[in-house]
Amino acid sequence: MSQAEATQTIKTRPWSLIARALGHVGVSGRTLVIAAPTLWLLIFFLIPFAVVAKIALSEITLASPPYLPILEWTADGRMIVTLNFGNFQFLLDDPLYISAYLSSIKIAAFSTLIALLIAYPMAYFIARSGERYRNILLMLVILPFWSSFLLRVYAWIGFLKSNGVINNFLMSTGIISDPLPMLQTDFAVYVGIVYTYLPFMILPLYTNLVKLDEALLEAAADLGARPMTTFFTVTLPLSLPGIIAGSMLVFIPAIGEFVIPALLGGPDTLMIGRVLWDEFFSNRDWPVASAVAIAMLIAVVLPIMFMRNVEANIAGDR
């Protein structure tokens, strides 16, 4: 390459200039590629949890920020560490928090099950339909996901309230004479969660079912299995990875859900995400809110991450 050509190459590619400059300082591109995202996540993802843990161990005060420091230097140079485990004690003593955890897990688990029951036939139908329709049907499943989550929850308020679409319809047909109370109940929370997370259940199930070898089903039929038997002995076991993936995608976000119980649930709908929110915004108790977050991390998030890890290892071994 001539000198002129080389200059030309460098001119048209500013990044090679940057790469050269960094090379002179002794930073290789490889280091930079690794360091940039790692440092970012350390600062903005990992360290924050240390801060949350620190504040969970501090005491509430009427100041800004509304918590007392853990470390204090006295005038004669002594360091005083005050760790306040009272916030965690408080979580264990007040039955509200324990029942909020249990009720979050219950609501998330049942919603996942209902979503699975609705999603399975849809995913199966889409996977078995012709290639042309398949794309259109898939697009119809994904479309609601791209529109606003908040507005989709809002749409259900219009459906479920006492003078809403469902009650109006039932009363005009004479099936019921008084409006059914649906909004501000746990039922509404189930509907909301199943509705907003349904696409997350359908998509992994579809990806799994579309790969299912039709020959296996034919073989089962040839051997005299009835359709139902084939389904339970062949299709269902083979689609287990899809079921697990979809269930994770629904269960995990449902556990920490705040918006749906806040808008559709009643005052007695307890979910841990909502408890944390209220502790923070209504009671302005930052230390207790932090303790709730840490407890939620230990009780819910870590087991899930561990399970995912085990699963990934099993998948890797196969």
Binding site: W15, S16, A19, R30, V33, I34, A36, P37, T38, W40, L41, F44, F45, P48, V51, V52, A119, P121, M122, F125, N135, M139, L140, V141, L143, P144, W146, S147, S148, F149, L150, L151, Y154, A155, I157, G158, F159, N163, Y195, P199, P227, I252, P253, I255, G256, F258, V259, A262, L263, G273, L276, W277, A289, A293, M296, L297, V301, I304, M305, R308
Partner: protein, 265 residues
Amino acid sequence: MRRRWLLTTATILGFIFLYAPIISLVIFSFNESRLVTVWGGFSTKWYGELFQNSQIIDAARLSLVIAALSASLALVLGTLAAVALTRFRRFRGRTLLTGMVTAPLVMPDVIIGLSMLLLFVAMQSMFGWPGGRGVLTIVLSHATLCMAFVTVVVQSRLADLDVALEEAAQDLGATPVRVFFDITLPIISPALVSGWLLAFTLSLDDLVIASFVSGPGSSTLPMVIFSKIRLGVSPDINALATIIIGVVALGVVIATLQMWRRPKT
């Protein structure tokens, strides 16, 4: 035959469940009556009212700016992480990076929001930065959340990519940086576009994290909508929903048409 019929019915009912609430929002956005569920004749007055509402217009503009900034930042960081994880076999901190990249996917919003806010408060008292909360803190938080999603999308595309292409370029004397910009980047560009769009939508849609890390005077669109819904019925939200659904549907239809056209040419 009977089973097929059952399956079809279940699917149709499923789609009705998915679309009935959305369609009713669209229909009632053209309702003359203030009561959201009583039909009072066709009218577009809520659209007029929506465009008069400067609070909503300002919040929408702010949300779009934040989403564009966070998605771009998340795209750069997420792509770097994806390259590091797929192309560099062994490096110190690989397990740490893998863990930190996937963790935001399973972390509840409330925890991310709270931890981000407490970090910013601690940073401010230690270094005096960031001063106050607003666009900057929302963008930093959203970029962190979104980069996890970008990494997943880009990583799967990079894993599918034929390494021989990159090796050939390298054998012909291209530097790793040049290989990346001239060979890898053009090939993975569809994944970059979908990663950016996913990040953009996630940021645009986020209520919880933004509520924690925003300061007075920096309310995003979801925050304004949320407080309006909590205060009671406001039919102009139906009009807003219809516009958003229309834009999204149009975008998805155009993207699908593009996708169908590509293999033929």
